[in-house]
């Protein structure tokens, strides 16, 4: 049997087919697991009227890395689905906030756990579920709730994706992935929810079967394209500094 490699030559090739209007999720929580190189490639590719899904819109840290806020500034974005349209600390101003406040870009604000679960549901064929989160808040206004065993829950729908852009430490050519530490975050969940998952990989991509089947974090069936992150400065933020602080 042949086992084809999913490795794509470069980031431009990996994102070339993203059409206008696509829904794309981006892994990452703070820096770890963020697909900086794919975001940069998407800015160059130029697809428009995108719906983006991510924890935050970025731009909270300096120096600024490629983030969703830059795609917004680049005029590529119609809507963002995220857990923060503004910073937690009111004195921090996110670049995204002014686009949202001015109405140039739409946003759907979703509690972080609900965001993760909606994508998990999409990947797992669950079209809707109930959650206690956000009951009694402004986010629940006018929405369907249900009392189960004496407690009120909010109905939430699955969030399916066209693309997931993710980042992992290790991959084999079939797309089996391993994440390092908190690099994992949203990445495995988004991979299950997307029709096409594109992963940028820190370490040299390995032959099929190099990862023990018990140690795979994301199964290759969920990953469609792999791109090796080249050495810095061409590749962004390889982030290889690791303490042995155990």
């Amino acid at each position: 049997m042949t086992q084809r490699s999913k490795v794509v030559a470069n980031f431009a090739a990996a994102v070339a087919d993203v059409p206008d209007g696509a829904t794309i999720a981006f892994g990452g929580f703070a820096m770890p697991g963020t697909p900086f190189n794919l975001i940069k490639a998407l800015m160059e590719q130029g697809a428009k009227r995108l719906t983006l899904v991510a924890n935050t819109t970025g731009g909270a840290q300096q120096p600024r890395m490629p983030d969703i806020g830059m795609l917004v500034e680049n005029g590529q974005v119609a809507k963002v689905i995220c857990a923060f349209t503004a910073a937690t600390r009111p004195t921090d101003v996110l670049p995204f906030t002014k686009y949202y406040e001015s109405g140039e870009v739409d946003a759907e604000l979703v509690p972080q756990g609900t965001l993760a679960e909606r994508m998990r549901a999409a990947g797992a064929g669950v079209p809707a579920f109930y959650t206690p989160t956000a009951v009694g808040t402004e986010l629940a206004k006018g929405r369907e709730t249900r009392v189960i065993n004496g407690r009120e829950y909010l109905l939430e729908y699955a969030l399916p994706l066209d693309y997931a852009f993710i980042r992992a430490r290790t991959a084999d050519v079939l797309g089996n992935l391993r994440f390092h530490r908190s690099q994992r975050n949203f990445n495995p969940v988004m991979a299950t929810a997307a029709r096409c998952t594109i992963a940028e990989i820190d370490d040299p991509i390995q032959p099929a079967g190099s990862i023990d089947p018990d140690d795979v974090h994301t199964a290759g069936i969920y990953v469609h394209r792999l791109v090796q992150v080249p050495p810095s400065p061409e590749g962004i933020w390889p982030a290889k500094r690791e303490a042995r602080a155990r």
């Binding site: 820096m31 949202y100 509690p111 756990g113 989160t133 009694g136 495995p188 690791e242 602080a245």
Partner: protein
Amino acid sequence: MSETKGLTRQQMADRVAREFQDGWIVNLGVGIPTMCSNTDIGDRDITYHSENGVIGYGPVAAEGQEDLNLVNAGGQNVTLKPGAAVVHHADSFGVIRGGHIDATVMGAYQVSMTGDFANWKLAGQKGGGIGGAMDLAACAKRVFIILEHVTRKNEPRLVQACDLPITAKGVVTLVMTNYGLFEPTGTGFRLREIAPGLTVEDVRAVTGGTLTVADGLKTIAV
């Protein structure tokens, strides 16, 4: 702008940390709450959980010793304690929603005497910053809030009812401010412990709703 009275930020965190019981799983929010993990609470074994799926993290990493792919909810490069485990975001919020968090500690703009609190959206703001706060607030076994007792305009943050959009209803079990340690009772705030150098009347003057005082009111050891 009022002069800050009473406890320092670290003293507030220290007092809250001393509430943690042996064996608890605790989630610490961004800001003052993360300072709880600096507190020495002796022999008690606490497992710190962070929204991004880290179960069992330890102190912030020493300079030059950071693993850049390992952060807590505040984005700080932390260390791991022996026996730590990493899970993905859906599983991490499974830990939260499933009721496995013994206590969550968060900052807030306001807390009400019925245990509502507000920490995601300011007055007139479009959108906001929710993060994991609504999940944690709705599902943790205990919700501890740490906040400055008054706003920059010297207005109370402990209020009869929140006028800001709430994060969750009736969930707050403990409120820590620079003035003291409080419990929302439904009909007011009960002052359990007071900051050194302050009187009950100092506290009452800047507290919304009804203030009651615990029998044998203690002064917080700092």
